[in-house]
Symmetry: C2
Subunit: 409 residues, 2 copies
C-alpha cells in the first residue's frame, strides 16, 4: 500500500510522550526523589455513586433477552440527547434540540474525525498556543502544508495568544475555512469574554468559516459574564460546532463519553456553491464509521443530569479549581507571571528570569521534583511558558507548591 | 466552510435504513401482522455472566481514588491485548504479539478510520457483494470516483462473487492498493478456503497492496480446513491487516469493543518509495484521534478468554448457527438456491422464479410477514439474491420458516 505521506511529515515524538520520557529518566537517575505530577491533564477524583449505579443497571439489562440492548443509534440514545438538550442548553435559554446533539466516545475522537467532512483544501486556523490535536489532525488530513523552520506549518493560519492580548487571541487578517477555538483554554486557562467571542463569530460569518468550539472545560466557568457555550453569541448556530466531554467534569477519561453539537442552521457550501447541511454530513459520517458510544456508559452520563449528578460535578470541579487557585497564588509569590487558574484547572506561567520552556521544566523537575508541561509544546507562542494543572490531589498540590517556594529562580 | 463533496456523491438512503422504512410502512398498513425480522445483523442473546461480572468489577474500581482509572492506553490495555495475542493467535500457532493488536470500539470504526493512513489516491478493491461500509468509506475518502449507471463507482475495482465461483471471489486483473475481504462473508455466508486465500495473498504481494481482512465472523468456523485468520497463510503478515469484533460472538453490539491486528512486518511505501511501518502509522492515527475503548468494557472483553467466556461464546454461536442451518434447509425445500449458513449466521439465497431482490423482499414481507435484506443493496453482483440471518430466536426462526413454507413462489 501507499502511505498517507502527510503522516510522515509529523514530528516523531508527541509532546506528552516526551514529557513522560523525561520524567522517567529523572526517576531512574534519582530513585529516592518522589516526583509530583503537575503536568497531568487527567483527573484523579473517583466517579460519583449515582453514575456508577446507572452503569451497573445498564450492564445488568444486558443479562436478559428481554432487556438486552444490541446496536444503539449511531447518534446516541434519545434519553441522553434529551437530557443534554434540556440540562445544558434549553435550561440556559439556548435552543439546541436533541437531534442537533451527537454522543461521542470522547472529544478527541470527534475533534479529529470532523476533518472527514471538510473539503480537503480547507484552510485551518488555530489559536497558538493550543491543544496539539487541532494541528496534528489538520496535518494528517493534508491541510498543514510543510513544517517551516519557525516550527509552524505554512498552510495553517495562527492566531497568537500573547501577554499583549492577555492570551485571548483575536481573529486573524487571513481567510480560514475552519477555526479551532477552546475556552476555557487548554493550555492557558484563559477564557473568552463575550465581546471577543462575538468578534470570532463575526469573522466566521464574514469568511464563511466554521468554528469548532472546544468547550470541554465549560463547567469550570462560574461567572455569568463569561460565556459557557458559543451559542450564547447571537448567530453562532449558523457558524459553530461545539464539542464537549464528560472527562474533566465527571471523571470520564477512562469511561469515554462526550458530545458534539451540530446545529441544523449550520450550512457548508457544496461543489457548485449550493448549501449543504453540516448536521446531515456529520450524521452520514457517524452512521458510516461509528456505531455509537457504549450503552452502559451512556446510562452513566445521563445520571449526571440528576440532582446528585449535578452536585457531584460541582464538588469535583471545586476541588480542581481550588487547587488551581492555590497554584496560581504560589507561583505569583515565587515571582511568576500567571494566567488562567480561575475558570479553569490550568495555570499558565512564566518566570522573568527563566525564559526557556524546557529549561524551566528541567529546573523544576531537578530542584523541586515537580513535573509541568513546557508551553512550547503547545505552539510557538507558548515558548517560555509552562502549564501546571489542578488535577492532582489537594495534598500533593500543596506539597508541590511548598517545594516550589524553596527554589531559587 | 466548504463541504467534502465526496459525501454528497453518496446515495441519500443507506440500505439498512431503507429496509427499516419499508418494514415500518408494511406494519402501518397491516397493523394485525407480526413481522418476523430475518434481516437483522444484530444479536439477540444476552451477555454471559462472567463478562457482566468483569464489567461490574471494572466499574466499581472507579469508585475509589486508589483504584480509579483515568486515560488508558490509546492502543488498549495490556491485559486485553495479551489475552487476545495468546487466546486467538499464539495458541493457534500464529505469531501475533500484543503490540500488533489495537483495541477498538468496534470493527466498523476501524474499517472506516483505516482510510486515514492510506494515500488519498489509493485504488480500492472490494468483493461484490460486500458490507456497504467498505465502498461508502472509500467514496467519502475521495477514492470512489463517480457513480456510473451500472451502480458501480468508476475508480473502485470490483471482484465479483457469482454462482460460477460459488460466491468465492478471485483476485481481479486490475491493480489495487487496498483490498477489502470478509470471511465468513457478510452477506453471503461463504468462506474462503486456504487455496483461494493464498491467491489473494499472492495478489497483494505482487501488487504491493494491503488486504483489510474483516473476520468479524471467524468464530463461526468449525472446520480446520477453513482458515479463521488470514495469518494462517504464509507471508500474510507482510500484506494484511485483520479486523475482529466481539459483537457477533459475544453480543457486544451495544457494549462496543473489537480489535485490529497490524503486524510489524507490514510496510507501506512512502513519498520516495521508502518503507513506512503501517503499525506505526496506525499507532499515530489512534494516538491522535482516539483515546482508547472504555475501561470496564475492556474488562468484559478480557473475561471472554476465560474458560467460562469461551464456553459462553460457543453456546451463543451454536444457537445462531443452528438457526442458520434450519433457514438454509427450509429455503432449499422451498425451491431456493442457497449459499453460506454453515460457518456463518448468514444465508444467501435466490429463487429461480423470483429474480428481483426488492420484489422478493416485498413478496416475503407481504405474504409471510418475514423481513430479509435485498442482495442488491450489497452490490450489483447481489442482484436477485436475499440475505437471511440466524440472529433471531430459535422460536421466531422456526415460525418464520413455517410461514415461508406456505408461500407460493
Amino acid at each position: 500500500m501507499k502511505a498517507n505521506t502527510n503522516f510522515t511529515k509529523l514530528p516523531q515524538s508527541y509532546l506528552f510522550s516526551e514529557v513522560a520520557a523525561r520524567i522517567r529518566d529523572h526517576k531512574e537517575s534519582n530513585p529516592e526523589s518522589e516526583v509530583i505530577r503537575m503536568d497531568i491533564g487527567d483527573v484523579t477524583l473517583p466517579i460519583a455513586r449515582c453514575v456508577l449505579d446507572a452503569m451497573h443497571k445498564g450492564i445488568e439489562e444486558m443479562a436478559s433477552t428481554v432487556t438486552f440492548r444490541g446496536y444503539g443509534p449511531e447518534q446516541g440514545y434519545a434519553f441522553l440527547r434529551e437530557a443534554i438538550s434540556e440540562g445544558d442548553y434549553k435550561s440556559r435559554g439556548l435552543d439546541i434540540s436533541p437531534d442537533e446533539i451527537f454522543i461521542s466516545d470522547g472529544a478527541k475522537s470527534d475533534l479529529g474525525n470532523l476533518g472527514d467532512i471538510y473539503s480537503p483544501d480547507s484552510v485551518v486556523a488555530v489559536a497558538d498556543p493550543g491543544y496539539p490535536v487541532y494541528v496534528d489532525t489538520a496535518v494528517m488530513g493534508g491541510r498543514g502544508g510543510d513544517l517551516t523552520e519557525s516550527g509552524r506549518w505554512n498552510k495553517i493560519v495562527y492566531a497568537d495568544s500573547t501577554p499583549e492580548n492577555g492570551f485571548v487571541p483575536r481573529p486573524p487578517k487571513e481567510h480560514a475555512d475552519v477555526v479551532y477555538l477552546c475556552s476555557p483554554n487548554n493550555p492557558t486557562g484563559v477564557v473568552f469574554d463575550r465581546e471577543t467571542l462575538k468578534e470570532w463569530v463575526e469573522y466566521a460569518r464574514r469568511e464563511k468559516a466554521v468554528i469548532v468550539y472546544d468547550s470541554a472545560y465549560e463547567a469550570f466557568v462560574d461567572d455569568p459574564a463569561v460565556p459557557r457555550s458559543i451559542y450564547e453569541i447571537p448567530g453562532a448556530q449558523e457558524v459553530a460546532i461545539e464539542i464537549r466531554s464528560f472527562s474533566k467534569t465527571a471523571g470520564f477519561t477512562g469511561l469515554r463519553c462526550g458530545y458534539t453539537v451540530v446545529p441544523k442552521a449550520l450550512k457548508a457550501s457544496g461543489e457548485n456553491g449550493e448549501e449543504v447541511s453540516v448536521n446531515r454530513l456529520w450524521n452520514r459520517r457517524q452512521s458510516t464509521k461509528f456505531n455509537g458510544a457504549s450503552y452502559p456508559i451512556q446510562c452513566g452520563a445521563a445520571a449526571l443530569y440528576s440532582p446528585e449528578g449535578r452536585a457531584a460535578i460541582k464538588e469535583n470541579i471545586d476541588v480542581y479549581k481550588s487547587n488551581a487557585r492555590y497554584i496560581k497564588k504560589k507561583l505569583s509569590e515565587a515571582g511568576f507571571e500567571t494566567y488562567g487558574g480561575e475558570h479553569s484547572p490550568y495555570v499558565w506561567a512564566r518566570h522573568p528570569e527563566q525564559t526557556d520552556s524546557w529549561a524551566l521544566f528541567a529546573k523544576l523537575l531537578k530542584e523541586a521534583g515537580i513535573s509541568c508541561t513546557p508551553g512550547i509544546g503547545f505552539g510557538r507562542a507558548g515558548g517560555g511558558y509552562i502549564r501546571l494543572t489542578g488535577f492532582n490531589t489537594p495534598e500533593k498540590t500543596r506539597e508541590a507548591m511548598d517545594r516550589l517556594g524553596k527554589v531559587d529562580f
